[in-house]
Symmetry: C2
Subunit: 193 residues, 2 copies
DNA sequence: TGACATCTATCTACTAGTAGGTAGAATAGA
DNA sequence: TCTATTCTACCTACTAGTAGATAGATGTCA
């Protein structure tokens, strides 16, 4: 049939959606199979074990993050603009509500996750923090804004705060809660000059 | 036999520990039964459904929070001291590492949780925010410290940030990450005078 | 006090359904 | 025909939950 690439992509896409809404433990091969329109056994051909599928979903999600951050760097020069774009990126588009970062969700399940998935989750969090630290350092160094704490502290706080904001938006099923936390969080951390 | 109260307590205690480490979806009656030393069927005598057990665990956790906050109010008068005690409370003792708030964890699983559990989770988050808002308002009103944002904004940001801090500590299995976020978070939000 | 009845708490044994995973046959395109 | 892909059919382990029995404690009343 030569639909392997096609099917693999569809499996990954469905698995991503399921993982983002339910997490790792609450989705099954049966859920994916139903969405893709194949049998559960067929998924094992593309991804021998559930851990393989989850790891690949995370790895791609992480790659997408790296690309998105590179795009921000390319399109925006001002560190303050970059920060706001980052916050908006995490907040998601209009159709994706409430916003939720896949890896923030998986972080909550860490103790029950296969180790190869945990590696990707931690890598994602580290990538985020590293980029934020760089942008915050640049802004502070060039005097565009002043920080309430050191750049790497601000990066950690910002990442953690946005994570908590997404979780709250999810718990109350109200995407406005994200902005209601993200905005004052930025205000408290970064003082524009 | 008259061990009902005893057994009920032991079931609740085991369920609490399991839920705090694995969340709702990744623990089973079999896990609880093994720890308590009874059969799974016996758990159904005390808690007809898994949702009943989880709801009770959450309700008690929530009550414990309310009590703990009342104790803080009773023992400490200074709003700044109360805040630091709160942060330490969330960070847990020396033996409980890495720290994790049960309801912060469950917030991540919200879409897959029985509604009666969700009610308790949201109630917990609201209780926390209400208390924080009050303490922050008092501190700001009496001029003990100044806030970077409004008291209720600061309360939301603080709660979200600590939640993200606990998640990070869990993901990296390193309790130091909690303090590494909590401390600068407080610094950025609350300026002592 | 003794007998009967009820209650508590647990058990064994079971149900129906789901989990992830495997073996090997069928199919289809190059 | 060879190879890639998907299928049917199955497996074992586990899920929450139920049915019915039972041991022993407690209550009630003649």
């Amino acid at each position: 049939m030569e639909q392997r690439a096609n099917t693999t992509e569809r499996i990954l896409e469905s698995a991503y959606e399921l993982m983002q809404t339910r997490g790792y433990n609450a989705f099954s091969y049966a859920d994916v199979a139903e969405r893709v329109g194949i049998r559960t056994a067929s998924i094992h051909y593309h991804f021998p074990a559930k851990a393989d599928l989850a790891r690949e979903v995370c790895a791609r999600y992480r790659s997408a993050l790296v690309e998105a951050l590179a795009t921000i760097d390319r399109e925006l020069a001002d560190p303050a603009d970059r920060l706001h774009r980052f916050v908006a990126l995490q907040g998601g588009g209009i159709d994706r509500r409430p916003p939720m970062c896949l890896c923030a969700l998986l972080a909550a399940e860490c103790p029950t996750l296969p180790e190869e998935v945990n590696v990707e989750v931690r890598g994602f969090l580290s990538d985020q923090e590293a980029w934020l630290t760089r942008v915050l350092s640049e802004g502070a160094a060039t005097g565009l804004f002043s920080l309430a704490v050191t750049p790497d502290e601000a990066a950690r706080v910002l990442r953690a705060g946005l994570e908590g904001a997404m979780l709250a938006a999810r718990a109350y099923d109200d995407r406005k809660r994200y902005d209601a936390i993200a905005q004052p969080l930025l205000t408290a951390l970064v003082r524009s000059k």
